[in-house]
Symmetry: C2
Subunit: 346 residues, 2 copies
């Protein structure tokens, strides 16, 4: 019989609330014969304040035993900026080699967008997750003095770029439109830019059916708001991907519905799924958070584990739920979760 | 009697066409007693192909003798990506220490925006222009092999950050709303992020009337499309500024009207003014380019040289011209230039 052994990291702020709904919908959608086991982990601000720890080697060993990880949100104003981001979120992505950071953007019917004319938006960003300016390379000399110099080093390897570019080509190949855009800034960041561009062009030869284009990151932000329908799959570096996917979320319904997967395609380590939004401490504990992004992240998780039909059912449920919201009073986090659980079970 | 000794760099693609209009409007707006001298420089793709040169020491010496520089656009598909950008545009910004890259965004009445609901947009981005990932630091080892590693180093100095932050505070202080946002990614790029944040907070103490906020660059892209009215002045690093100002241009009328100044506030070297758009080779020579961005760059140039009334007259003319376009057939580059020249003279 089948089983899913899931690590659950509610985290900070609204993390617990949205994860509860994600698990509710997961339980409701899974066939009877699939045994779901979950284990909660208390990472985040509370643990950091209590123990000074963010993510230990022992934690990583524990987490590695699971089939996948569901994360709510990590981050709290009581912790200095960077401590939990670098010490937990990025540490985990790097330790588990989550090099495919997958972020789909789809503007569902009835969902509000800041763009005029309700454009058709349906693309996915494949963001590199383990290199670029995110490696923590760099440093500071003469800190706090008028002579301070701080550097950040973007590290890009042929190994790291090729595997994520290849993944993106395969995803583009599998989609009806078969289009892939490389986004970089190769006219300024020429060292990294040439590496990305050369590998992209090389791998393109293996995917003759995929139509490719290159775009500078600044131009990409323009197209995202003026012609978002032109995008199908985008592959880009870690930092550009971070920026573009927040913008992508903003134009396709907001971060309340933006899901993401931090994927290790080899399966050597469990992949992690999380909403794109943060811990939103300002609305935590009030039942105001929209759990849809977390529920959609559960769909990505299920797809990753091979439960395609269940993933699709969740996506349809969220889509239907969003379409029905128009003109209705706001519901609580719990009510939305309940409604989605009913839909997927139905 | 007063005089302006201007270096003119038409450049590639539509550069020549838009610069012609910029100069036309400049001549029309200047009072009789101001003597305008211009000298053309042939930088860009043609010169590169003919001589292999992009910008020599002798060129820099020549350019340094002018009061200011007006640039059309540099870049052509016949030149490998990066050659003219690094070899001319960035070389000039660095050589003349253009550390304040000023990019105003104002959505003028009647101008189309991709955003729904015609929001109020009136802010200015102060982009650092001589540091960050633009320094060209970095390199490649094992080029072209599966073991290639390419790095890009973002260099940030207390000296460089403080002067641009101080400039931004002064600009915020001079505006009615007196608001300044620092945009960075200090939770990931912690070395540079802490430098920027600490200096920002330190300088803030000298400007008690300025309301400040900090925002991550990814979040800033969201706010630019969902709440652009919240911004007054933004100060940010070279790369984030590059990305945000293209997005800012897109939401406030497009790159057809986005002006910029590469300013050396000390006056040690001439400042350079240019439209944010590129050389647009696809429409070059067809009289289709909108010269408004160049004309507005001329306004920034005049303001920098102390001709505030003339700068304001140009801005009013462009604003009035844009408002009158609605529903009218498209005009040529030349016709728009003529109309603006008439307005500013009137
Ligand atoms: C919180 C932060 C480290 C993270 C990132 O920059 O990757 C977040 O913005 C995201 O996009 O998942
Ligand atoms: C052409 C390029 C070097 C330049 C930049 O990145 O600064 C351009 O995009 C700009 O914004 O002026």
């Amino acid at each position: 019989s089948r089983s899913i052994n899931l690590a659950v990291i509610p985290g900070d702020g609204i993390g617990q609330e949205v994860v509860t709904q994600g698990l509710k919908v997961l339980s409701a959608v899974l066939p009877q014969d699939v045994k779901l086991e979950t284990k909660d982990y208390d990472f985040g601000a509370r643990r950091y304040h209590a123990t000074g720890e963010t993510l230990t080697d022992a934690d990583l060993e524990q987490l590695a035993r699971h089939d996948a990880i569901l994360l709510g949100a990590i981050g709290d104003p009581s912790v200095p900026s960077g401590v939990l981001e670098r010490g937990f979120l990025l540490k985990l992505r790097f330790a588990f080699d989550h090099h495919v950071n997958l972020r789909p953007s789809k503007l569902l019917p009835g969902v509000p967008t800041p763009l005029a004319g309700q454009p058709e938006i349906d693309f996915v960003v494949v963001r590199e997750g383990t290199e670029g300016p995110y490696t923590g390379n760099g440093g500071t000399i003469r800190k706090g003095t008028p002579q301070e110099v701080a550097t950040e080093v973007s590290v890009n390897t042929a190994f790291g770029v090729e595997r994520v570019v290849r993944d993106a080509f395969a995803r583009a190949q599998a989609r009806p439109r078969k289009k892939l855009a490389l986004v970089h800034k190769n006219n300024v960041l020429t060292f990294a830019g040439h590496l990305w561009t050369n590998i992209f062009n090389k791998v393109a030869e293996e995917f003759p059916e995929v139509t490719t284009e290159y775009m500078h990151v600044d131009a990409a932000t323009i197209y995202l708001v003026t012609q978002p329908e032109r995008f199908d799959v985008i592959v880009t570096d870690n930092l550009f991907g971070d920026i573009l996917t927040d913008l992508a979320a903003a134009i396709s319904g907001g971060i309340g519905v933006a899901a993401s997967g931090n994927i290790n395609p080899s399966g050597e380590f469990p992949s992690m799924f999380e909403p794109v939004h943060g811990s939103a401490p300002d609305i935590a504990g009030q039942g105001k958070a929209d759990p849809s992004a977390t529920v959609l992240s559960v769909a990505l998780l299920l797809r990753h584990l091979g439960y395609e039909a269940e993933a699709a059912r969740i996506e349809e449920a969220v889509s239907a739920d969003l379409a029905e919201r128009v003109g209705k009073p706001a519901r609580t986090t719990d009510e939305i979760g309940d409604a989605l659980a009913v839909r997927v079970a139905g």
